[in-house]
């Protein structure tokens, strides 16, 4: 139970990344399936070659940001649809990630990392609270407002004499940076990085956000970022429950898809959740 919650909170960092691209930028960004692994790969490679933890984590964030930049660049420069741009970068990243990792699965059992000692749960809680608060704060700044306008009214950015395309790219950089950061954290938490650990990340992120929204619109008003974190934890708990009642781990993706579908079908009205 604690392990599931902790995992849920780590994934919540990834979900916050998806929340930026999907909810704020209105950009269903498939890059995350690749940038999540990229973050894990960079951290794993960094730690196994003896780089300090902080440097490895920052490198993961920057690498993820670069992936986001690339997606944004392809999308805005060549007018390729948002889905396709993300898919292109995601596919390309598979090879890059394999290069960085060296092989399909690399463990971190012999190196010191964030969770080698101490209380993992507390560390993760501190981390997610910091990330969420920083993010909320960021979206209250002028720069953050501009990024919110990308999904809200890009026309207005133009009206202010600024290029909406640039802000779309900045948003994607931030989103994928966070996703990669989360990948790095997860690799340390589970003790290994795997080339396939990113499969279905976007869908999982969407499921968490939509689940969070569905929960939070009943009764109390919260920020969407909070809803996303809650959604992520509830989603992991739901998955753990399905395993407990006898489904095979391989069934989880189908269950996720069905869960997402059923929420979407039910979710006709939005209320009580404010953006950003």
């Amino acid at each position: 139970m604690t392990a599931t919650m902790t995992e849920g909170l780590i994934f919540a960092i990834m979900v916050l990344g998806v929340y930026i691209s999907y909810k704020i930028l209105d950009f269903p960004d498939l890059t995350v399936d690749g940038s999540f692994v990229l973050g894990a790969a960079v951290v794993t490679r960094g730690l196994t070659t003896g780089l300090p933890l902080s440097i490895s984590m920052i490198a993961a964030f920057i690498a993820g940001g670069a992936a986001g930049y690339l997606t944004g660049f392809i999308h805005t420069r060549f007018n390729i649809t948002n889905l396709l741009s993300g898919i292109l970068v995601m596919i390309g990243l598979y090879s890059v990630n394999l290069r960085i990792l060296g092989r399909a699965n690399v463990n971190l059992f012999t190196v010191d990392h964030l969770f080698s000692s101490g209380n993992s749960v507390i560390k993760v809680i501190v981390l997610i609270v910091c990330v969420k608060l920083l993010l909320d704060l960021f979206f209250k700044t002028r720069f953050g407002y501009m990024i919110r306008l990308v999904g809200d009214n890009p026309n207005l950015i133009e009206g202010f004499g600024l290029n909406p395309k640039s802000y779309k790219i900045y948003g994607l950089v931030l989103a994928n940076g966070l996703v990669a950061f989360a990948g790095g954290i997860l690799a340390q938490y589970q003790g290994y990085a795997d080339i396939n650990m990113g499969t279905g990340m976007l869908v999982m992120g969407l499921a968490s956000i939509i689940l969070g929204e569905a929960i939070c619109r009943r009764g109390f008003s919260v920020m969407l970022s909070t809803a996303a974190v809650i959604g992520s934890v509830v989603y992991r708990l739901a998955l753990a429950l399905t395993l407990k009642i006898g489904f095979a781990p391989g069934d989880l993706k189908l269950i996720t898809a069905l869960l997402l579908l059923s929420i979407l079908v039910m979710n006709h009205h939005k209320a009580g959740v404010t953006n950003a």
Binding site: F138, K140, T141, R142, F143, G144, Y145, M146, R148, L149, D152, N153, N155, L156, I157, E158, G159, F160, G161, L162, N163, P164, T274, N275, A276
Partner: protein, 245 residues
């Protein structure tokens, strides 16, 4: 001063090429408040799109205060040219509050960095500005703009434009989606801005009453050509039936 110099624009369609403008020439003077009228397909909207950069000219030159702007991307032109759209949703951010919208507009031309988007010390100033609309918006600073009526949104959009007076104001049927009363409020605000800041203005409209009441020059476009150009001091001589013929 704005000058269109031998502008040509055509679109490729399945039936061949459709020419909208051919060697189009037009000058907007510093003191002009021009009402542009014309039937659908006359080229009014295309003219505006070419001007603000939503579409690019095939050939020719557009000069704004001596600088040629026809190759600049839209966002650079919009530093100097403000466009107010027919759709009130386009001039404001729906998922932000009135206060946030005002703060953003107030900041135009400066760097949008990592400082807080709303500076509290400006709130009284925003309230005064909003109160001048007479729509009660000053009491709803924290309301999301998407919850306002179209007219309220458009009035807010005009106010936001006024916070940083542009070198040229372009109004693309900006009151046509509003009820008559709010349309009047928005037009009065428009007039006030234009007169206070002496902004040359181009207003596309289908409303003959507004065209003659607010503008000081009336242009009629037809098939990409100016078929009428009148100073409105002589408005008494204009026969409205003739204009719509």
């Amino acid at each position: 001063m704005l000058k269109f110099n031998k502008i040509t624009k055509s679109y490729k369609t399945y039936d061949g090429e459709k020419t909208i403008f051919k060697d189009f020439e037009f000058v907007v003077n510093a003191t002009d408040f021009i009402s542009v009228i014309g039937t659908n397909g006359a080229g009014k909207s295309t003219l505006v799109k070419l001007l603000v950069g939503d579409e690019m000219v095939d050939s020719g030159e557009i000069l704004l205060n001596g600088q040629s702007i026809e190759t600049l991307p839209a966002f650079i032109r919009k530093k100097k040219i403000a466009k107010v759209y027919q759709d009130p949703a386009k001039g404001t951010a729906g998922n932000m509050t009135i206060l946030e919208n005002m703060s953003l507009a107030d900041h135009k031309g400066k760097v949008y960095g990592l400082t807080f988007g709303v500076s509290k010390k400006n709130i009284p100033m925003y309230e005064t500005l909003l109160a001048s609309l007479g729509l009660g918006l000053e009491n709803q600073l924290h309301t999301l703009v998407k919850n306002l009526s179209g007219g309220q949104r458009q009035a807010l959009a005009m106010l936001m434009v006024a916070m940083n007076p542009p070198e040229l104001l372009v109004l693309d049927e900006h009151t046509s989606a509003l009820d008559p009363k709010t349309a009047e409020v928005v037009m009065e605000k428009t007039k006030e801005i234009v007169e206070t800041y002496q902004i040359p203005t181009l207003m596309i409209t289908h409303n003959m009453d507004m065209a003659t009441r607010y503008g000081n020059r009336l242009i009629k476009l037809d098939k990409g050509e100016i078929v009428m150009d009148e100073q409105l001091d002589e408005r008494d001589r204009i026969n409205k039936d003739e204009l719509f013929a």
